[in-house]
Symmetry: C2
Subunit: 407 residues, 2 copies
């Protein structure tokens, strides 16, 4: 049983696509985002892909009056891209970096350098404890042959576990961000069923915006039309999820997405659409306990575990081939040292020694040895983390099955 | 007001020093640890530095009857070394890897490769929720000129934050491990004052073992006598810390450390002494709320922030010098390409071209360029994480000062 609304919260979520030197019309768009946030007066703005701290600084300056509290989550080589602007004081923050996040040598994808993470901030509004999470998961570059799926599943699992373990003192949990997963994907099912978070698009009373709530749409002039070809309406990968705990209930009164352009302007804020939700928090008359374990949860954890195992096999293969390459390069170098020494020993002999090609070959062998060793170490860490995730999932499955069988 | 004891918990904590090929009499000691744990029947054994999974496997097999539940936390290149054996079912686990943990090129110290982390496990004993944390922080190699102090302070801060954010649903919090900090060090003061954890050595009713509770003592045949020279009694760096939350109170009835050798044997379990605590959990008649903010907490966070800032300056200097080195190597390579091309253009001329020294120089420049670039990226991440920690501490200080001024 619920009582009258205690408070309303207006939340703005956007992947800003603000990569210095690469994103089109970046400064103009950052200006536009700042103007809109100032005028609209949300309670919370949760942004992703604000890669440059000068852009964050510009936003902070512009929004100081309406949103006196803000935080930028620093991580990785170029930052996490995650930042938040709040009308209410931020009491504490905490950052969890995902243990797997692509490969440093995939420079064209660059996710590794971003230090993908989930940021938590705690806020208290009229006595209600909000735990607000903002995140951005690894991108999907090819849906048919998605080499990053195991990493994204591990991230979804770590995100779910992080939320579960850090939200025990919360009255309301709120998660916003670019999850890079379609609504039916295994990662999002895992996240939702494990945490009990509800999807504002599925639950909203009123919706206005792109069909199916899509946030990457062909109508947006910055999206790649080719990538969206299999999805004529676009795809939904940006979410606002929430749940009320114990004595509090949350529902979504109103959800709006932009539709290709920023309202009243000729260009969009970003290549993603913004998601804006009006959430309503009510006090329950009776505290709600933890729900029963759903048998579907066991299935989805099992499905996720299969993906992790697929990733584990791939990582083991990669590690093996890099190890082999490093050993071959080392053998070649040793052989060259032996040849060099023997040629020194017979220095006086008139046999010509091909110094130039010899040293070119050493250069090659050294570079291969260095690179292959670093990659071997990297893939060993990947293997460990995938094994660790599988172990954790196994343990959780055991605990779930025990609970189910005792029901 | 407290009632009769609800339950007693016997906890065993040990840094096992079980590094394959490096630690002396490793297999013998692992056998000994397994035998003792089997015979003694603790409730929880929290171990660190079990680096080899085969050692963990051996312990697991030996302890299956007495401790049917166990978990090994996988991370880093060679694992986290952290594992736990429990009489009670482990309901869930979660791992948090510290964002900073030394340098990969400090091979002689090797901490970077270990993926230092804190592992959390949740256990329910007779209706009481235990959140048990096991960890191992970065080692201190030189107390006078401790280059790793900022990293260890960041780890202590992250450990404290991790415990604070993940223990809201707990009735009892328990932390055991090798913290690599003396009792008065800034990191341990930060950890204790921020989390409210109590030190079993300071609080115990009865103590038996090394003087001052030391866990690295000259009487142990595996410790380095030279390192311990300034501390004739030894040092205390292994801890069992605890707190009761809300309706539960915990106290330490009995604390024991080994004294240089394993009881009844001629050799020690490890180069560290084992710490064994008997904790007593009582139900309070009245739930205890969060305590008031202590002004000392502000001082210790400020002190820690100063250390982080010192680390930040060092990291910035390192990043700068690696960046400069990479640019110089790149310039040298470009110069060589230009020289090579010009020599090709004048191929017919009779001027001799020093191909051998030329290609040796290229080899050197390429290796320097590669290594300096990787190190530049590494130190950039270090700078980001130190800045992020400083920001978090700043935010917490602000919140603490607001609380203090409103008191």
């Amino acid at each position: 049983m619920e009582t009258d609304p205690l408070l309303q919260l207006r939340v703005f979520d956007l992947n800003c696509w603000a990569i210095r030197y690469l994103s089109k019309r970046r400064q103009e768009r950052i200006g536009l985002i700042g103007d809109t946030l100032s005028q609209e007066g949300f309670d919370l703005a949760l942004l992703q892909e604000v890669w440059s701290e000068s852009d964050y600084g510009e936003l902070k300056q512009k929004l100081a009056a309406r949103y006196p509290n803000s935080h930028y989550f620093k991580s990785g080589v170029i930052g996490s891209g995650l930042c938040v602007f709040s009308r209410y004081p931020i009491l504490d923050t905490f950052l969890y970096q995902y243990s797997l996040n692509g490969y440093p040598y995939m420079l064209q994808h660059g996710d590794w350098f971003c230090g993908k993470a989930v940021g938590l901030l705690t806020i208290k509004i009229r006595g209600v404890n909000f735990h607000v999470y903002v995140t951005h998961l690894h991108a999907e570059y090819c849906r048919e042959k998605d080499a990053y799926l195991p990493h994204r599943v591990v991230q979804a699992w770590e995100l779910a576990q992080f939320i579960q373990h850090t939200s025990k003192g919360a009255d309301v949990v709120l998660l916003a961000g670019d999850l890079n997963m379609h609504p039916g994907d295994v990662g999002i099912r895992l996240l939702r069923s494990w945490t009990g978070l509800r999807d504002s698009f599925a639950d909203t009373e009123r919706f206005e915006g792109c069909e199916d709530g899509c946030t990457l749409v062909p109508a947006n002039c910055f999206t790649s039309k080719m990538e969206l070809q299999p999805f004529p309406l676009g795809i939904r990968i940006d979410y606002i999820l929430y749940k009320g705990l114990s004595r509090f209930a949350v529902k979504c009164d109103n959800l709006v997405t932009t539709t290709g352009t920023a309202p009243g302007h000729s260009i969009p804020y970003s290549d993603h659409e913004a998601v804006m939700a009006t959430l309503c928090v009510k006090r329950r008359e009776e505290a709600q306990g933890a729900g029963a374990v759903e048998p579907e949860l066991v299935d989805v954890v099992n499905e996720a575990r299969t993906e992790v195992r697929v990733g584990l096999h791939a990582a083991e293969r990669q590690r093996y081939s890099n190890g082999r390459m490093a050993i071959l390069a080392l053998l070649l170098l040793l052989l060259q040292v032996a040849m060099g020494l023997s040629s020194l020993a017979s220095w006086d002999s008139q046999q010509p020694f091909p110094k130039f090609s010899f040293s070119l070959l050493s250069l090659l062998a050294t570079v291969v040895l260095l690179v292959a060793t670093v990659l071997y170490v990297f893939h060993t860490i990947e293997v460990r983390m995938l094994q660790g995730t599988e172990d954790q999932m196994q343990l959780v499955l055991q605990a779930l099955q025990d609970k189910l069988s005792s029901m």
